[in-house]
Symmetry: C2
């Protein structure tokens, strides 16, 4: 397990800092918005997938379709998702985010990132450019990773 790649080592170090800074804000956001981890995971998944069925979403999180159905019912009541019948196969429901769902998700992202603004202020223009270049590379490659995020 000795990963000697200094790139990976540095990344782990950064991730450690990142998690420590943002995990707590994330927990607070979840509590205040009344969303469970499963709900947040579902909203995230929907924001990428666009649309999914009840069982799909349950599988994605590793829970039964019954649990998924109950959780989605709560999200419908909170008006964060829309649940409509698939006109082609009327057994399945099509779940999509509402506008409000998108907004809540954005809030959650911003909640975890306040400290990054502070960090940005300590950076020179040169440094920002360097970091932006680095991030752009990673974003590109991550997008090409042929995403079976499952």
């Amino acid at each position: 397990m000795s990963n000697t790649d200094p790139f990976i080592a540095t990344f782990q170090q950064w991730q450690d800092i990142f998690m420590h800074r943002s995990l707590r804000k994330f927990i607070h956001f979840a509590r205040e918005s009344g969303l469970s981890m499963s709900m947040i995971g579902t909203l995230f998944h929907l924001s990428k997938k666009g649309c999914a069925g009840v069982t799909d979403l349950g599988d994605h999180l590793g829970v039964t379709s019954a649990a998924s159905s109950q959780m989605l019912e709560r999200l419908v009541q909170q008006e964060l998702i829309l649940r409509t019948e698939d006109p082609i196969d009327r057994r399945v429901k099509q779940i999509v985010l509402t506008e409000k769902g998108h907004q809540v998700l954005d809030e959650g992202i911003r909640a975890r990132q306040g400290w990054l603004d502070d960090l940005a202020e300590t950076l020179s223009l040169e440094e920002k450019k360097l970091i932006k270049r680095a991030l752009d590379i990673m974003i590109n490659r991550a997008n090409q990773l042929e995403g079976p995020i499952e």
Copy 2:
């Protein structure tokens, strides 16, 4: 709310990818290890702080000391933390991570990062160096941010 700093914009983009990739693994890790978000947040906090009291840890997460006490009892039973009496003020308990606690935390970090190994493989040596330089800058600045993570 129009944040025009391209650095911040890029960072948000990266964070979005990062969250989408790792949130699900994080949820699975939590379920499989039988740890709640509060527990994981507590372990994280202890790994940085080293030592804390019951009420401190509760405050950190925004729950009552009763809730904190109950959660810590479970962590003690799982042998992830050590709870000893403060010899100076015998009302307070000193909570620290056990070796096992550190290990579980590391697992959690690695669980969320498998895909980064894949990403690393798509990078040239040049690119890795560039990204490492960028991360090193951010790590440094983050550490200097005079940490009131609260």
